[in-house]
C-alpha cells in the first residue's frame, strides 16, 4: 500500500515515468527469456496503474499470444491499434491471431450513423482527434472575435465553415473517446443463448478470440452481437472488454485496490 502511495507521489513529481520504463524493460526481459506469464503480469500491472501506451498493449498481446491465450492477445492488439491506428506490427499480429481462431469472425461494424465519423477518424489516435477538435473549437471563437473587431464577409464564411467543422470534429472526438463496447471471447467455448439465463435455449456458440459488441448488460449476463448479425445472451465473465476502460485478466484490479508495481 505504501509503495502504491509512493508511486503515485512519484508520478506527480515526474519520477514515475522512469519507474514505468524500468518495469517495462523488466517485462521485456521476461519475454525475451521466454517467461511469458511473468512478462504478461508485469505489462498488466502497468496497465492497471493507468499506463495507456500502444507499445505496452502490443507487447502484452504478444505475451498472451505466446501463452496461447488468443482472446487476451486479440483484445490487447485492438487496444494498441485504438491508441495508434497506424501500428502496422500490431495489425499484422492481430491478423495472425484472427486466422488462428476457430470461426475467424470479422470485426463487428460500427453503427450506420457512426460510419461517417468512423471513416473520418479511424486513422487518427484518440489524442489527435481530441486536440484537433479543441483546435478547431478555439479557431472558431478566434475567428468570431476577429469578426467582432473587424467584421467582414470572409470572416463570416470562415466562422460558418469552422462551426460545421467544430460540430463534426466534436462528435468525432466524443465517438472516438466512447468506442462501441467491443469484447473478445476469452474462454475456449462460450454458449450464447436466447435469453439471460442458463435455462434459456442455446442459440449459437462463440469461441476463444471471437469478437462481439456488448449491447446490453443484465446482472451477470450481456447481450452480444457478432459481425454476421447473430445476437444472444452470454455470461459477462467469459468476455474481456477491449475498452477503454481497460480490463485485465483478473478484471477487478484498479490503481486503488492493488499493490504497487514494485511488489511482486
Amino acid at each position: 500500500m505504501l509503495m502504491t502511495q509512493l508511486l503515485w507521489i512519484c508520478v506527480f513529481t515526474g519520477i514515475g515515468s522512469q519507474a514505468y520504463v524500468e518495469e517495462f524493460n523488466r517485462a521485456n526481459s521476461f519475454y525475451m527469456e521466454g517467461e511469458y506469464r511473468r512478462a504478461a503480469d508485469v505489462y498488466e500491472r502497468l496497465v492497471v496503474e493507468g499506463v495507456e501506451h500502444p507499445v505496452v498493449f502490443y507487447n502484452l498481446g504478444n505475451a498472451y499470444y505466446k501463452l496461447r491465450q488468443l482472446g487476451y492477445a486479440i483484445a490487447n492488439y485492438h487496444r494498441a491499434i485504438y491508441l495508434k491506428p497506424n501500428f502496422t506490427m500490431a495489425k499484422e499480429n492481430l491478423t495472425t491471431c484472427i486466422t488462428e481462431t476457430r470461426q475467424k469472425l470479422a470485426l463487428p461494424e460500427p453503427q450506420s450513423w457512426g460510419k461517417v465519423f468512423y471513416f473520418l477518424h479511424s486513422s487518427f489516435s484518440p489524442k489527435t482527434v481530441y486536440y484537433l477538435a479543441l483546435t478547431i473549437w478555439l479557431g472558431l471563437w478566434a475567428v468570431l472575435a476577429y469578426h467582432s473587431i473587424r467584421p467582414s464577409r470572409m470572416s463570416i464564411v470562415l466562422a460558418l465553415f469552422l462551426a460545421i467543422l467544430s460540430i463534426t470534429s466534436g462528435i468525432s472526438a466524443w465517438q472516438k473517446a466512447h468506442p462501441p463496447r467491443l469484447a473478445v471471447t476469452c474462454e475456449p467455448e462460450v454458449p450464447v443463448r436466447y435469453g439471460p439465463g442458463d435455462a434459456e435455449t442455446l442459440r449459437f456458440n462463440l469461441y476463444e478470440g471471437d469478437r462481439a459488441i456488448i449491447e446490453e448488460q443484465k446482472d451477470d449476463w450481456v447481450r452480444v452481437a457478432t459481425a454476421n448479425g447473430d445476437r444472444g445472451w452470454a455470461r459477462r465473465k467469459d468476455f474481456l472488454l477491449v475498452g477503454p476502460p481497460y480490463e485485465t485478466r483478473t478484471k477487478q484490479e484498479t490503481p486503488h485496490n492493488k499493490e504497487g508495481i514494485d511488489k511482486q
Partner: protein
C-alpha cells in the same frame, strides 16, 4: 430433451390431433422409402390411460439405436377419461437391401401387454427407383394424416446429407464426399447451427477442399426453400473391401413463431451411412509411383548453364486429382559426375472448379562435379488410371546442362554441420509467426483525467470572445455616436484636466472650464453657450439633488468671482477648489449614469 415429431405431436405450423383408438400400439417408419445405409426413424406410438416404455425386440437385418432420440408424451382429456399418448423414435439403418419383418412390439398399456401389428419393411438399393406406394406399402400402420407434404416437422427445419460421387472405387482412387447442411428459409422460422461433427471415415485418407469464396446456394424441397451449405472432402481409400462412411451430425436450434409466442427446440439431424466398395489395384510395374487418378508430369531444369560445383535446380511437377501424399518420388536415373539431392517437396491445391486437383512439386539440387556438357536422361513416372483400369507411364526430359570450369579460389566445400546450433537459434528467433515485441518506448506515463482541461478549453474561448465582442461593440459606439462618446468620456477628460491643473496659467478659469465642459458633455450641450444660470436650470431639470446642485453652483461662482475680480487664489484655496471639483465630477458622474440607465 424432448423432441417433437411431425407425425405424432405438435406440428410446427399447427397441431395435428391423433385419431387412434384407445389402448393401441402403432409402429411405422419415417421416411416411407428406406434404402440401404440410410438412417431412418422407427417410431412406436402407444395410446391408453397408463402407458409404459416400449419393449424393443431384436430385429434381424436392422441396426437399431435402442436409446430413443424422439421422446414425446401427451395427455388429453376425453369423455372416457385421461388419455396418454407415448411416442418413441429410434434411429435405425440396414446394411443390406432386403425385406425385413418388423415383429410385434410390446407396450404395457393400462396394465395389459399390447402388441403392434407385424409388417414388412423393404430396404431398397441406393440407386433403385421407389416402387409405387399402392403395390408395396412399407408402413401400413402409419397414420394417414401425416402423409401430406405441405407441413413441416422439426426434423425438416435442418437437414444433414452426405453424398459421394461413386460407391465402387480402387484403392487410393479419389471419392468426393459432399456434406450438405440444409437450413430452411421461412419467415416464421429461425434456425441456428452451432456444431457440426465430421463423419468417421475409417480406412480413408481425407483432405478438405478449400471452398474459396463462399456462396451458399438454395434449393427447394416439398415447396419449401432451403439454404444449402456444402463442405467437400476428398476421400482416398487406403484398404480394399467394404468401407463405411459413418453419418455426420449437425447440432442446432430453431425458433418458430406461432402467433404471438415463440417455440424453441433443439435440432440434431443426422445424415445417412454410405457404403463404399474398394477394389485392390492390379499388379504394378516397377516405375509405379503410388499415384492413383489422372496425373500430368512437368519438369524443368534452371538454369541450363552453371559452374563446376554450383548447383542448379531440377523441378518435377505432378498435377492431378489423386492423393498427393501417396505420390512417391519419381525415380531419377544416376548420372556420372553429378550429385542429386531432394531439397524440397511441396503440396498445394490447384484451383479447379470441376474437380479437386493437387500439385506435388519435387525440387532437386543438381550439382555438377566436373565441367563439360552433362546429359540428364529422361525419367519415368507411372500412375494408375482407375477409369482405364490400367497403369499409365509418363516420361519427361532429357535435359542438357553446360558446366563451366570453376576457378581454384571458387572451389570450396560447404560444411553444414558447423555453426548449426547458433543458426538454428537465430532461425527460431526470426521465424516467429508474429512480429517481435518493441523494446524502445517513449512517453510512458499514467494517464490522468483531462476533464477539467476539456471544460476549460470549451468555456474559455466563449468567455474570451464575449469580452472581446463587448469591447469592440463599445468602441464602435464611441466612434459612431458622438453624444455617447462625450457622455462616456466626460469624467475621464475632466479628471485628467483637474489632475494637471497646476500646469495651467489660469488654474481657476481652467477649473471653471473643466466643470462647464464636463456638464456640457454629460448633458449633450454646446459648451460655449452655457452659463452658470443655464447650468443651474439644466441640473434642476436633470434631477440633480439640491445639495449637489448647490455645491456645483458654489464652485462655479467662486471660479467666476476669482476670474472677474482678479482676486488671487492661494495654493490651499486652489487645492480645495480642485478637490471640490473632483468630488463634484465623481458625484455627478454617478448621478448621470444612474439616471441614464
Amino acid at each position: 430433451m424432448h423432441r417433437m415429431n411431425l407425425l405424432l405431436t405438435l406440428f410446427v405450423f399447427g397441431i395435428l390431433t391423433g385419431t387412434l383408438p384407445a389402448a393401441e400400439v402403432n409402429v411405422y417408419v419415417q421416411p416411407d422409402t428406406v434404402r440401404k445405409g440410410q438412417v431412418f426413424q422407427l417410431i412406436v406410438e402407444a395410446r391408453g390411460e397408463q402407458v409404459s416404455e416400449p419393449q424393443l425386440p431384436k430385429i434381424d437385418g436392422l441396426n437399431i439405436n435402442t436409446t430413443p432420440n424422439i421422446t414425446e408424451d401427451r395427455w388429453s382429456l376425453s369423455p372416457a377419461g385421461q388419455e396418454h399418448i407415448k411416442i418413441r423414435g429410434y434411429r435405425a439403418y440396414a446394411e443390406q437391401a432386403m425385406t425385413i419383418t418388423i415383429p410385434p412390439i410390446t407396450v404395457e398399456i393400462d396394465g395389459k401387454p399390447e402388441q403392434s401389428k407385424t409388417f414388412q419393411l423393404k430396404i431398397l438399393e441406393p440407386n433403385v427407383a421407389e416402387p409405387a406406394q399402392s403395390t408395396t406399402p412399407s408402413t401400413p400402420n402409419k397414420p394417414s394424416s401425416s402423409a401430406g407434404n405441405t407441413q413441416l416437422s422439426w426434423d425438416d427445419l435442418l437437414i444433414a446429407q452426405s453424398e459421394v460421387d461413386k460407391t465402387s472405387v480402387y484403392i487410393q482412387q479419389p471419392i468426393i464426399l459432399r456434406l450438405k447442411r440444409l437450413e430452411i428459409r421461412h419467415p416464421r422460422v429461425q434456425v441456428r447451427v452451432y456444431e457440426e461433427t465430421e463423419p468417421q471415415t475409417q480406412g480413408f485418407y481425407v483432405t478438405a477442399i478449400d471452398p474459396g469464396t463462399f456462396f451458399p446456394t438454395t434449393t427447394t424441397i416439398n415447396g419449401f426453400e432451403y439454404q444449402v451449405t456444402e463442405c467437400i472432402r476428398v476421400l482416398y481409400p487406403t484398404q480394399s473391401g467394404e468401407l463405411r462412411i459413418e453419418p455426420w451430425e449437425c447440432r442446432g436450434a430453431a425458433r418458430v413463431r406461432d402467433g404471438l409466442r415463440f417455440i424453441d427446440n433443439e435440432l440434431n439431424p443426422i445424415s445417412d451411412v454410405l457404403l463404399i466398395h474398394v477394389k485392390p489395384l492390379p499388379p504394378a510395374p516397377e516405375s509405379f509411383s503410388g499415384a492413383v487418378g489422372k496425373f500430368q508430369l512437368e519438369s524443368s531444369l534452371e538454369p541450363r548453364e552453371t559452374t563446376e560445383g554450383v548447383p542448379v535446380v531440377l523441378t518435377l511437377r505432378v498435377q492431378g486429382n489423386g492423393n498427393p501424399n501417396a505420390i512417391g518420388q519419381p525415380k531419377i536415373p544416376e548420372v556420372q559426375n553429378v550429385t542429386m539431392s531432394l531439397s524440397d517437396t511441396t503440396v498445394s491445391q490447384v484451383p479447379n472448379p470441376s474437380e479437386p486437383t493437387f500439385e506435388k512439386v519435387f525440387r532437386y539440387n543438381v550439382t555438377p562435379l566436373k565441367s563439360g556438357e552433362i546429359l540428364i536422361p529422361e525419367f519415368e513416372f507411372t500412375y494408375f488410371d482407375p477409369d482405364l483400369e490400367t497403369y499409365v507411364p509418363q516420361k519427361s526430359g532429357p535435359f542438357s546442362l553446360v558446366v563451366k570450369p570453376a576457378l581454384k579460389s571458387e572451389k570450396r566445400f560447404i560444411d553444414f554441420s558447423k555453426s548449426q546450433g547458433s543458426e538454428q537459434r537465430q532461425v527460431e528467433i526470426l521465424g516467429h509467426d508474429i512480429n517481435p515485441i518493441v523494446l524502445e518506448i517513449s512517453g510512458l506515463s499514467a494517464k490522468h483525467s483531462n476533464r477539467f482541461f476539456t471544460w476549460f478549453a470549451i468555456v474559455f474561448p466563449v468567455a474570451a470572445y464575449s469580452v472581446v465582442a463587448l469591447a469592440a461593440s463599445r468602441q464602435r459606439k464611441l466612434k459612431s455616436n458622438p453624444s455617447y462618446a462625450r457622455f462616456r468620456l466626460a469624467k475621464r477628460r475632466a479628471l485628467t484636466k483637474l489632475k494637471n491643473i497646476k500646469d495651467s496659467s489660469d488654474p481657476v478659469g481652467e477649473v471653471y472650464r473643466v466643470l462647464i465642459s464636463f456638464l456640457a458633455d454629460k448633458l449633450d450641450k454646446a459648451e460655449a453657450s452655457l452659463t452658470t444660470s443655464d447650468i443651474e436650470k439644466l441640473l434642476e431639470d436633470s434631477g440633480v439633488n439640491d445639495t449637489l446642485r448647490a455645491t456645483v453652483l458654489r464652485i462655479l461662482r467662486k471660479c467666476e468671482r476669482s476670474r472677474y475680480a482678479s482676486a488671487s487664489v492661494s495654493p490651499e484655496e486652489l487645492d480645495a477648489l480642485v478637490q471640490g471639483a473632483t468630488a463634484v465630477v465623481t458625484e455627478l458622474e454617478s448621478h448621470f449614469r444612474s439616471t441614464r440607465c
